[in-house]
């Protein structure tokens, strides 16, 4: 366990001077800013729409925010997963990293954990910024803390499947751009996949769409399938990484 934490610390050190940190901070800020603009200009119109009848301001904010955020987060998660592995290819340091007497499973797990932690920070930041947007806009209704906590938790569980598959692809493919392109195509078509619950269950790119806490959305897909596929792909990734040949 000590080895894992040392590797994790090393992974964070590698990110110290990278542009990942501004990306992690700015992504939720951008998402929240877009939602602020959207509601600032169109609040009355959106509230008057039939499908928003009965929703309070906080629910409206989440509903409006979710479909931009699901894409934004998934795309950035794809970049982060590639970036963490690309660093080794870029500096040609896989050979050195894997020649050290450390467990390959722990090395992979440390990289996967960094991606998950950075995404968790973005997801948490997003929820905090959204509360600030609501407060800034002067919503009169009481803040529905459970709504935001559920939204945050669902996203963290759902994103594990996307992180799992993208980390696996990024390790398997020497060319980071191929892993990125596969991820981007998957994310771009996620809304299509999500139209069918049966299909969406088995496609990690669509799990994020199901994280909005709303009675019309089946959150179980995000919760159970997101986590299950996350763990399955983590297992695949470790297995593959253990056998990876380094030249």
């Amino acid at each position: 366990m000590g080895e894992y934490f040392r590797l994790l610390k090393g992974e964070f050190l590698k990110q110290k001077k990278s542009f990942i940190w501004p990306v992690v901070v700015l992504t939720p800020l951008l998402g929240a800013f877009l939602s602020f603009c959207n509601l600032f200009f169109r609040y009355d119109y959106l509230m008057s729409l039939e499908h928003n009848q009965g929703h309070n301001s906080w629910q409206l904010l989440l509903n409006q925010h979710h479909f931009i955020w699901a894409f934004l987060l998934s795309l950035v998660a794809t970049i982060i997963a590639s970036h963490v592995h690309y660093l080794e290819y870029r500096s040609n340091s896989w050979k050195q990293a894997l020649a050290l007497p450390v467990s390959r499973a722990n090395t992979y797990l440390a990289k996967w954990s960094v991606v998950l932690i950075l995404n968790t920070l973005m997801i948490s930041g997003n929820s905090i910024y959204l509360v600030a947007v609501g407060k800034g806009m002067g919503f009169t209704e009481l803040l529905d803390v459970n709504l935001f906590l559920n939204y945050t938790a669902y996203q963290i569980l759902a994103i594990t499947s996307l992180i799992g598959i993208q980390s696996w692809l990024s390790t398997s493919l020497n060319n980071a751009n191929v892993a990125l392109a596969i991820g981007f195509v998957g994310v771009a078509s996620s809304l299509f996949f999500a139209q069918s619950e049966q299909l969406a269950k088995f496609l990690p790119y669509a799990h994020m769409i199901y994280t909005l806490p709303d009675p019309t959305i089946n959150n179980a897909i995000a919760l159970y399938y997101g986590l299950t596929f996350g763990l399955i792909f983590l297992g695949f990734g470790i297995m593959f990484f253990k056998r990876k040949e380094i030249y």
Partner: protein
């Protein structure tokens, strides 16, 4: 100059970029076809042109998300080799003109984006024939609008190319590319779309049927001017920069 072109093409040969630019739009068209077949009655029940519906279903997520993001990928890929292992230092210590290198790399990248749109058009045509769509081919939609989309995206290509050259970490052009592409989905639905170049490809591809798109010629003119301005800025910056 011919040698530089040959070297650039050689670098891309094993990068799988051609697969990316061809298969990505083909996949989006496949998605569009599945959606069209699934909701066929809804989309064509009132006598709508099936080719038009096929175009819209294929294009909607392609142009809003995948296309601008793929431009970022292509731009980072054409500078990938130089951005790793101090490649710029080796490349530019050769007797080559910096301006020529910059221009050829950019033209190569723009060519790849063009192949991407050609793959989209061909995929739509094949999908239409496969589905047995009857009626005249709407050339304006299937060929004209993707070409207009390409023209409208030229400033985006130039901006992301400048970023890919400037920053060796791929996170920067990719992050900025995505960070600027996503707001376009919101801005394109507002009256302010004209001031945000990232909405131009969306408007060129999908705005033909929207009443809001009345400033088409202005968009193409603005795109060309922006392309020239950003390109000149990029060349001058690249020529003056020290390679360390």
């Amino acid at each position: 100059m011919r040698d530089i072109v040959a070297a650039e093409l050689l670098k891309l040969k094993n990068s799988k970029i051609l697969w990316i630019v061809i298969l990505a739009p083909a996949f989006m068209v496949m998605q569009g076809v599945i959606n069209l077949v699934r909701y066929y009655d809804l989309f064509t029940g009132q006598g709508q042109n099936v080719w038009e519906q096929l175009y819209t279903q294929s294009m909607i997520f392609y142009v809003m998300i995948l296309f601008p993001v793929l431009i970022s990928v292509v731009m980072t890929l054409v500078t990938r080799i130089e951005n790793t292992h101090y490649g710029w230092k080796q490349y530019l210590s050769l007797p080559v003109k910096k301006e020529t290198v910059y221009t050829i790399k950019f033209v190569t990248a723009c060519g790849l984006v063009f192949v991407n749109l050609l793959a989209l058009i061909i995929s739509m045509l094949i999908a239409g024939l496969f589905l047995g769509v009857e009626g005249n081919l709407p050339y304006q939609s299937l060929i004209g609008r993707p070409m207009a989309t390409y023209l409208a995206a030229l400033p985006i290509m130039a901006i992301l190319y400048v970023l890919s050259i400037r920053y060796t970490q791929m996170t920067v052009p990719l992050g900025i590319g995505i960070g600027l592409a996503l707001p376009a989905m919101v801005v394109a639905n507002s009256k302010y779309w004209i001031i945000y170049p990232w909405t131009y490809p969306i408007m060129a591809a999908l705005g033909g049927t929207m009443e809001i798109f009345r400033k088409g010629h202005l968009v193409y003119l603005t795109s060309i001017i922006l392309l020239i301005v950003v390109f000149i800025y990029g060349v001058r910056n690249f020529s003056k920069s020290d390679i360390v």
